[in-house]
Subunit: 136 residues, 2 copies
């Protein structure tokens, strides 16, 4: 719907991507909107969503669904998995090796009748600060 034709450059979209590349906080559309509305006084939330969608289709960012009522986004970089804190809803990047997941993906594509292009591994539990708080 949005892609297919030639994309024109857009300062807003460029800044959204820059923001996502500069943080490891897995922001929401509303957070991005808040960050940029000083810089673009006429920015609209709908346009943030539209550009996030375009960036996802371009493969520059990924949408992270689940864990809460709103979606989060992150720039595409080194493959990694996440810990979703069930207490404070934080999403933390993990540095676990992804080789096991890659092997499973290959195995799935070899044997099965499916075609998997990517995998997502998430752990659910408590983040560092919430583990600490648990000892009262």
């Amino acid at each position: 719907m949005t892609t297919g034709g030639k994309l024109r450059s857009s300062k807003q979209r460029d800044r959204i991507l820059e923001l996502l590349r500069a943080t490891d906080e897995h922001p929401t559309a509303a957070w991005i909107y808040d960050q940029l509305k000083a810089e673009f006084p006429r920015l609209s939330l709908g346009n943030v969503y539209r550009n996030l969608h375009i960036l996802v289709e371009q493969g520059a960012i990924e949408k992270i669904e689940g864990g809460s009522t709103f979606d989060r986004y992150e720039a595409v970089g080194t493959p990694h998995c996440h810990l979703v804190c069930e207490s404070c809803d934080a999403i933390v990047d993990l540095e676990l090796p992804m080789s096991a997941v890659e092997e499973l993906t290959e195995r799935l594509n070899e044997n099965g009748p499916y075609r998997a292009t990517r995998a997502r591994l998430e752990f659910y539990g408590l983040c560092e600060s919430c583990v600490a708080e648990e000892q009262d």
Copy 2:
């Protein structure tokens, strides 16, 4: 909010759980509602949601978020992972071994400052019928 006190039995909730245990289709709340409204003519969608929530808190079922705009549910059983079809939105159970994921979970809990209670592994791509359709 709902749990904590003693739960009373409920025919509706029992049937919801039965339905989820009898299918591998990862149904939505609306689908469950459609299935049961003949049996319970006065059933309300809100009550389906309320009971799904209770069943999740009881650990009898799991909510599957992501892949589409509505949540899906499945009965808790043998641990497995899913293939999410990006073409038709189907969610397919996979029989890949989960040992690698269990090892990663242990590893995470040993070294890191986190506490992970469960993991979720999902593959994204094409389901069997959508792979077949691709050869036109």
